[in-house]
Amino acid sequence: MRIPFLSRRRSPRLLVLGLDGVPFSFLQQRLADGSMPNLAAVARQGSFRRAESVQPTVSCVAWSCYMTGQNPGKHGIFGFQDLRPGSYQSFIPNAADLQSPMLWEILSRRGKRVIVMNVPVTYPPREVNGLLVGGFLAPRLEGATWPAQLASRLQKLDYKIDVDPWLARESLDKFYEDLRRTFQARRRSFLALLREEKWDFAQCHIMGTDRINHFMWELYETGHPTWASRFVDYYHLIDEMIGEISALLSDQDMLLILSDHGFCTLKQEVNTNYWLQEQGLLVQPAGPRPRFEDLDEQTKVFSMTPGRFYLNLKGKFPRGAVDNQEADELLRQLEAGLRALRDPSDNSPVISQVLHRDELYHGPAAHAAPDLVAVPFDGYDLKGTLGQTQLFSRGALVGMHTYADAFWLAQGVKLADTTPNIMDGATTVLAMLDEEPPPDMDGKVLAT
């Protein structure tokens, strides 16, 4: 007979560390060369998997999938920039536009206490049972926390929402210092909250990994004499944090470390609106900084970063130019044109897949999705900036996102023997905490 009091276990706790844009293959190398020993210790006891992202492969869409367990056709976030319905007015989607409950809201309603720090698309903060600090879409810390008083507590720890990406263009040294300082303050703040607060679920998001990868990935990959090692040094700081977190966890606690997409060297930026102009499908509005609002009836198709293509349909947009009857033919033409697109420097194809809205998205928000999503081969970063005057260009960004080389690493639970997708986040986390996922989630449960 079991004696209830003695056999009662504390309910399981779960800590999630999100490392934005860190590739599985990169961490395999760190495990091999011993430069991330704490990560290696977790990997030895846990399940380590290569994982997949979402289309389009950007963090705001990916983490929205993670925290809602749903495809973008349900949660309604399709990119960092979108257009207000029935208009060409662009806006930056954030938590107020996310149409579904977040993982930590569900946990809060079920009586779990949560700590959530810096996850993309969590600003403006929504109420939770516990503490939440919004991610990098927050203009400043004040107003970005739940409860509001949390901001002053974090200010004392020098907490900073994000690094300044423009610094990287000015000086890599200054940018690196900003990366380090921002990370150390976040690490200090998160560990303080873990120690001082009661929690059942805690998640900290490191955005700096995506930032350093954007500006230094090529330097790392090509073995730059100074920056390649400093790049790995930054990851060593993250490994120290993994060590500190592991030390705080009990044997019953679980740990999930994951990324939302991989990274590779950026060969060329591909200006998709310039390409549409070349095809005779778009007329670039005049002026130094043309906006989507300036598009007119001469434009049949326009695109937004990355690789999102929209038919300028009559009945959907105010200056629509495409009838429903010609839509299918136009999509066929567009798809064929994209597939034929080549990099003139070596004649290699640029687009690996062209996916239609219905193949990617389903749900009440799917009508706001792009009509087509073009998926590039690694190295070709699709940009929807208007007013570009050439098809291929290169700027300060030397790294870009990849779909298939994200990772999941779980300790305290075995992951199913399959490729995780970022959309499996919320369902799996709920299952790890012995909670039933809501029926409208699309993700799979990967905890076995």
Partner: protein
């Protein structure tokens, strides 16, 4: 007294005219503007239940609607009319009557309309009880120059209503509000700041 707008929703049965008109009514009322919703079916039931459905009777009904809209809008009321009004001259006549006229062409495929069929009209036609549905048995003349075109298979009701409101603002038929972004969490300075961060990362 300011002239009211007349917003005339035309389209085949079950295209979504009344639903969008209802939403536009809500939005105008929320702004404290005077609104009257003249739903063609309701007006017919209340004012002329014996009118019938011959082409002449339909013509008469749209004429009455246009005239009522004209009278109400003259006194500053914004009038919503949801009527199949299948022939161009039905709408053009209303346009002549009403100075601030906004024609909203509401579209959906026959297949979708059959599926929606809120009044059971298409089902009755399938059973052979009705054979005069505009766009199926009878001609529906597409609008040539409508102020707004809405494809209800492409946009939600809320989005459709926003499109109509935006057009009313653009034409200065109703006072413009501060704009959609003012309703969000960002001030324009803050939005600019976040946009610059995103541009710095190549995300815009």
């Amino acid at each position: 007294m300011a002239q009211g707008a007349v917003i005339w929703f035309t389209g085949v049965p079950a295209a979504g005219k009344s639903t969008i008109a209802g939403k536009v009514q809500e939005l105008l009322e929320a702004r404290g503007l005077p609104v009257e919703n003249l739903d063609a079916d309701e007006v017919r039931q209340n004012l002329s239940p014996n009118l019938g459905y011959t082409p002449e009777a339909r013509d008469e009904n749209t004429k009455r609607l246009a005239w009522m809209a004209k009278m109400l809008s003259k006194y500053g009321v914004n009038v919503l009319v949801a009527a199949v009004s299948p022939l161009r001259y039905h709408r053009d006549r209303a346009r002549e009557y009403c100075p601030h006229f906004v024609e909203v062409a509401v579209k959906a495929s026959l297949e979708t309309c059959k599926q929606r069929d809120p009044k059971g009209l298409y089902a009755r036609a399938e059973r052979g009880e009705v054979n005069d549905i505009a766009g199926w048995h009878m001609p529906y003349e597409e609008s040539l120059n409508p102020e707004v075109v809405i494809d209800t298979e492409q946009v939600s009701v809320a989005e459709a209503a926003d499109m109509v409101i935006a057009k009313l603002e653009e034409l200065n038929y109703i006072p413009a509000t501060a704009g959609a972004e003012a309703a969000g969490p960002y001030s324009s300075d803050e939005e600019q700041q976040v946009a610059e961060r995103l541009e710095g990362l190549g995300y815009m």
